[in-house]
Amino acid sequence: MVYITLISLFFGVAITAAIVYFFFKYRRTHPEQLGVPIHGDMRLETAWIVVPALLAMTMFAWGAVVYVDYRRAPVDTLDIYVIGKQWMWKAQQPTGLKEINELHVPVGRDVKLILASEDVIHDFSVPAFRVKMDVVPGHYNTMWFRPTKVGRYHFFCSQYCGTNHSLMGGWVTVMEPTDYAAWLSGASEGNENPVLAGEKLFADKACITCHLSDGRGRAPSLNGVYGAKVLLADGSTVTADEGYIRESILEPKAKIVAGYQPLMPSFQGQMTEEQILNLTAYIKSLQSQPVPATGSGIAPATGKK
């Protein structure tokens, strides 16, 4: 910001000064006076193409580095699910504790928000943290930040979403880790743990009838699959992240795991975003379960034997 501001100030002031200076120094002194005809200068033209282009590249590069880092969340994050809908925000902490128009996070920890919309496009923005990300219906977006200072900070909806767009905001509360832990456990009663809720859904929606954990069902075992690379029928691989899980539930025919038939029915229209998030939390919890030797979709490790 400072860098671009300085460059802008430099050019802005220099050109304005030149204009003002010329405006007064070369004002007409006689009604029929002409100006000196200078048609151009190749060296000047080259200079003021090349120099701005180089400066522009530096501005691009610095911004690119920041952005690439922003788009790639670190590995060990505190994951919070955030659902935006007209015109409120629901955040779900890892324990299942839900908040409305509030977000509590511990200071000094990398926090990742998984953003889902139930209706139109929203945007979750925290100006104090210099972060925001669109919340788009139909797929997840993620954003991450590391709060560095305890305090309360505005968050806003930053993508016009209809009538009460301006009222769709709240507060991010950054707490000391001990306070955060205390707050988390203190208010947990009455809030269902998303992993348990997901486990219940897994049974109720009959996922369990095909996705046997020992790998002998009609569908791959989901043990250890979250975060791993899955081998698909067309030979390509895909990383099983939240987006892949969501797509598998809503559009199962989009990507078929190698060695399996396209049998899974779609749950489009039969599940809320919250239910999908709970299932995702349950599948994530299977990360440490033993992966069966056959009957898993996980791609075999490549590399030298």
């Binding site: 910001m1 460059i7 802008s8 050019f11 802005g12 050109i15 304005t16 030149a18 204009i19 405006f23 070369y26 004002r27 007409r28 002194t29 006689h30 029929e32 006076q33 002409l34 100006g35 000196v36 005809p37 200078i38 048609h39 151009g40 200068d41 000047l44 033209e45 003021w48 193409i49 701005p52 282009a53 522009a56 590249m57 501005m59 691009f60 911004g63 690119a64 952005y67 690439v68 922003y70 788009r71 139109v120 923005s125 100006p127 104090a128 210099r130 925001k132 669109d134 788009v136 219906p137 139909g138 797929h139 806003f156 930053s158 016009y160 009460n164 767009h165 301006s166 009222l167 229209g269």
Partner: protein, 545 residues
């Protein structure tokens, strides 16, 4: 004043409504775009008054959302995009190249009627429930969730697009086929180059917005699933299609204004423009590169990081030709013989405001910074600096510059200079605070805001009242001058273009005899007919220093 000219050659309402004279059609457009400017301006006034208090002073959130939407739709599609091309371009392009009219005069008239029909649908939308989707019509808000009069508005903008396409076609064919003998490409005025570049964008870009809005409208009416994820559609697809046109659209709005500036500066510095071929090439470069940057409006939609990197890089590249123009205009002032006439004040005001607007574009193109300032008032300030501080100043400056040619009368010079200064000051007071508001985090399209943003909002509204005065004054005195202004004569400034060699106002056929061009543009040295540089009198500003 000549006895017979295009304004009095024939009388009666039919002779105007069925005219094929490009100059009369330009006047028809002048009236209609001014009408939409008033409408858009009325909405802007209500917006700024409403934002005087944190909870909103004037209207409900629903109404506020309609105000900013309709302000954008009216101003962008029905004022800014047609303004210079359809008013000044229509009037001047044939005369500047020595032609009698455009290549397709009847299609020119058709363009105006299409514009009116499109405008009619949009006005119908405004008055039967209004429109609250934002001028950007993002889905699924516009195609599924909004309860406002979206369908007629979308039909209106769709229809209006054809007005642009036909105008662009007309201009391109005219420039290619109807230049007078001796009027080679590189003898054409830069205003013509600018209209040509704009016309490329008109015909390549506008069809895309047309089909996009058609799809969104069909989705809304027939519950289809192009952009609605519940039916398998992709809301981001809409954004790609929408911005594929709407980004080049901003170049439609600025290139003609740059063309105006390129005419005014040599005239009031009395010397050739510095770097003619670079300015001409920059116009084409902006038009072309401008088609490759659209997704910089979408850095935070979740698009692929690689895509974002490409679009950021290209967005920096498109800034370069604009910078080249600014450097060349400034250099033209060096060793000029500069007069402070109103058009020159507008041109210099343009450069200053366009400079700020363009430099702040560098902030927005920067991926890391955009994370913070995307969808805040920083963006609002940026585009108003370019569209109002740039394009509208160029339009008003051009109106003043060519007013004597169009009407045969001079506007009152002193009052006009005062108004230009009022406009410049009012504009900066209105929009500069908005950069700060955005950096501090105030999102755009907000009908209420946290109290810590109030001071800057009040400053902005105060500035807007001065800005409004700056616009009202020319509307009054320009109209007044049509009846009471001094007679202008052929070439009051004087300027070197072909348009200044014919009567003010011009006869219907533009020229009594088709001109034969043997001189370079902006060549004051070899134009004794301009009445300057009398034998023996000092001619150059500063000898040979």
């Amino acid at each position: 004043m000549p006895r017979e000219h295009y304004l009095n050659a024939t009388y009666g309402i039919r002779s105007w409504l069925l005219t094929t004279d490009h100059k009369r059609i330009a006047m028809l457009y002048l009236v209609s775009v001014t009408f939409f400017f008033f409408i858009g301006g009325a909405f802007a006034t209500m917006i700024r008054i409403h934002l005087l208090t944190p909870t909103g002073l004037l209207v409900t959130p629903e109404t506020y959302n309609k105000l900013f939407t309709m302000h954008g739709v009216a101003m962008i599609f029905f004022f800014l995009i047609p303004s210079i091309p359809a008013v000044l371009g229509n009037f001047l392009l044939p005369i500047m190249i020595g032609a009698k009219d455009l290549a397709f005069p009847k299609i020119n008239l058709l363009s105006w009627y299409i514009y009116l029909i499109g405008g009619g649908f949009v006005l119908y939308s405004f008055s039967t429930g209004g429109l609250d989707t934002g001028w950007t019509f993002y889905t699924p808000l516009s195609s599924v969730y909004s309860n406002s009069a979206v369908t007629p508005a979308v039909i209106g903008v769709f229809i209006n697009g054809f007005s642009s396409i036909l105008t662009g076609l007309n201009f391109i064919v005219t420039v290619h086929t109807m230049r007078a003998p001796g009027m080679t490409w590189f003898r054409m005025p830069l205003f013509v180059w600018a209209q040509y570049a704009t016309s490329i964008i008109f015909i390549l870009g506008t069809p895309v917005i047309a089909i996009t809005l058609l799809l969104a409208g069909m989705e809304r009416m027939f519950h289809l699933g192009f952009f609605n994820p519940a039916l398998g559609g992709d809301p981001i697809l809409f954004q790609h299609l929408f911005w594929f046109y709407s980004h080049p659209a901003v170049y439609i709005m600025i290139l003609p204004a740059m063309g105006v500036i390129s005419e005014i500066i040599p005239t009031f510095a009395r010397k050739p423009i510095f770097g003619y071929s670079f300015i001409a090439a920059s116009s084409i470069a902006i038009a072309v590169i401008g088609f490759f940057v659209w997704a910089h409006h979408m850095f935070l939609t979740g698009q692929s990081t690689y895509s974002a990197l490409a679009f950021s890089l290209l967005s920096y590249l498109v800034a370069i030709p604009s910078a080249v123009k600014v450097f060349n205009w400034t250099s033209t002032l060096y060793k000029g013989s500069i007069s402070y006439d109103t058009p020159m004040l507008y041109a210099l005001g343009f450069i200053g405001l366009f400079l700020i607007g363009g430099l702040t574009g560098l902030f927005l193109a920067c991926l890391g910074l955009d994370i913070h300032i995307h969808d805040t008032y920083f963006v609002v300030a940026h585009f108003h600096y370019i569209m109002v501080g740039g394009a509208v100043m160029g339009y008003v400056g051009g109106l003043h510059f060519w007013w004597p040619k169009i009407t045969g009368k001079l506007y009152p010079e002193f009052l006009a200079r005062v108004a230009a200064v009022i406009l410049f000051i009012g504009f900066n007071l209105t929009f500069f605070p908005q950069f700060l508001l955005g950096y501090l985090g105030m999102p755009r399209r907000y009908s209420s805001y946290p109290p810590e943003f109030q001071v800057l909002n009040v400053m902005s509204t105060a500035g807007a009242s001065i800005l409004a005065l700056g616009y009202l004054l020319p509307m009054i005195y320009l109209t007044w001058s049509m009846r009471y202004g001094k007679v202008a004569g052929r070439n009051p400034w004087p300027a070197t273009g072909l348009e200044w060699q014919t009567d003010s106002p011009p006869p219907t056929e533009n020229f009594d005899v088709t001109p034969e061009v043997t001189w370079e543009p902006y060549d004051y040295e070899n134009r004794p007919d301009l009445g300057l540089a009398i034998e023996g009198a000092p001619t150059h500003a500063h000898g040979d220093d």
